[in-house]
Structure formats: C-alpha cells, structure tokens
Symmetry: C2
C-alpha cells in the first residue's frame, strides 16, 4: 500500500456508480479471472489454472504489503470487480529528481469494455493519484499487439516516446 | 535499498577493475554529472544546474531510503564513478504472480563508453540481481532516439515487445 493516496475514490464512469478501492485478499479470484479474461495475458500463462492459485495468492499478499505498490480494483454498484490496475511509486534522480508513477496490468472485464471504465481509471491516475503522490511523470508499457490500447493511451495524452524491452529469465518456466 | 542484493559486486569489465556498489549521498555530484553528460537527459532538463541541486539531493535521499529501490554506481580502481543505474523490485499478479525488476536511468560516462561497462552492468542485472531478488522478468524502456542502445539491449537478449508511453503532468515545469 502506498501512503497518501485517497481511496476509495469514485470513478467518473458514465451512467454507472463505480468505485475504485484497494484490493484485498478476498479479491484474489476476481483479479485472476480478469487476467485470464485477456487474450494477451492468457498467452503469457495467465489462464486461472488451479495449479497457479498459490503463486497468485503469495503475489497478492506481497503487493498488498509493499509500501511502494498499490493493487486497485474498480467495483460496480453490486460490488462486482470490473477492472484492476497496479501502481508503483518510483523516486528517482533523472528529470531533475522526478518521482515516477508506473502503471502495470490495467485490465477491464471483457463484458464491461467500451463503457468508459478504462478512461475513468486512467484519468484518475493522471489527474488524482500522480499529483497526490508527488509524481510528475506517469509511465506504462503496452504490448505491441495492443493497437487499440495504444490509440486509447494517445487520446489520454500519453506519448509513445519509448521502446519497451523485456528480458525473461531462462529459469522462468 | 532493496534487501537481499549482494553488493558491492565486481563487474566483469575487460582489463579494468570495476566494482558496483550502492550510491551514497557523497555520490550526488557524480550522478548528476553522469545525467548531464547524456544528450537525451540534458534535453529533458538534466543540465547539472545549480538551482536543481536541492531537488537532486532530496531525490537521492529518498531513493536510498526506499525499500523497493536501489541506486547503484560503478566505480573504477581509483574510486571514480563511471556509470549508474537504478533498480526497482516490483511484485505483481500478472504472468502468474511474477516479480519484475525494472531498470531505470542506465548511464555510462561518455569518456568510458565502448569499454564493456554497460554490458557488464546489464549482465549483472539479469544474471545476478534478478535471480537474487526472485524476479523472473527484467524490464526497461529506452527513448526511441537511442538506436545504439536498442541494438545493445537486443544483443543482451532483451526483446522489444512493448511500446513505452509517458505522460508528463501539466504542473511539471
């Protein structure tokens, strides 16, 4: 949990009461389903397999306890989890000592796409979370295959100025 | 400072005794000069201006105290700082609960380029630091203008599978 972040927060989703709150261990199943609900994630092994429950539960516990990270979920009026994202606050020297806010693992349930949930989430990140955390830069990487997502981030004012490199450790199965 | 990282560590730089260690507040000037020594950083405002010393000093202090971050410097046999980089350990749910290691602000002094320092640094990150920290993925973004750097990362086994988006807050001057 990152300190100084005003949560829960209402999200400006048209015609739907949607609230953003911190994830708890009770959200494990819902978050794992959101990851598996996305073809790119599923292609990387996030298939909500029973064998992986222990790894996901440990990861959720670690993220919740980490002072530099916040795992968030957006919930509908009936309490169902419709989206998730992770924030990491990163102090740094570059850009005259700028603090960055890294956004990872943004996922909206496939049944709730195109309703403005993703846009409301990201506007909350840049307009609310980043200033509250003293960050002057918000950054994320998006898989080259996610062409629609790239259009979405550009519309929100993000600039695709960088190339995102990943190195998968040989020991990772 | 991130726990469980074996430092200082010798770097495998050909023909030069080079050691990687954690930055201290005494390294402030050297790190600021390394940033200003890079044209892309300088173009973003890292010009080692006297007015910015306070911001850099606060940032250095914050990074050093942060349990999820390590700011490192490579030093020559005579103790002079020849390179720097920052590591951020990020637990997460995606990729079956993978922990990531984010690399930021890799800089080698212009007078020491092409001597194998950058390669030795990055090999230490993927071969030593990532396994010690339980990370199965190392990631970084590189400015689209750094074509030579992209070739360098590809040679080390990094895959440019992602697009890196940045959003600069309007309040950032």
């Amino acid at each position: 949990m990152i300190e100084h972040l005003s949560l829960p927060a209402p999200l400006e989703v048209p015609d739907r009461a949607t609230v953003l709150r911190r994830a708890t261990s009770d959200d494990l199943g819902a978050i794992v389903r959101l990851l598996a609900d996305d073809p790119v994630s599923a292609g990387r092994g996030d298939t909500a397999a029973t064998d992986d429950v222990g790894a996901y539960a440990s990861a959720l516990d670690e993220v919740i306890r980490d002072p530099g990270n916040d795992l968030l979920v957006a919930v509908d009026a009936d309490g169902s989890v419709v989206a998730t994202l992770q924030l990491t606050r990163i102090p740094g020297m570059a850009r005259r000592g700028s603090t960055r806010l890294l956004v990872e693992a943004v996922r909206v349930a496939s049944s709730r796409r195109s309703l403005g949930i993703g846009g409301a989430l990201m506007r909350w990140v840049v307009d609310r979370a980043a200033p509250e955390l003293g960050a002057s830069l918000v950054q994320l990487t998006s898989d080259a295959a996610r062409v629609d997502a790239h259009r979405f981030y550009r519309r929100l004012g993000f600039v695709d100025s960088h190339v995102g490199f990943k190195y998968r450790l040989p020991t990772a199965d």
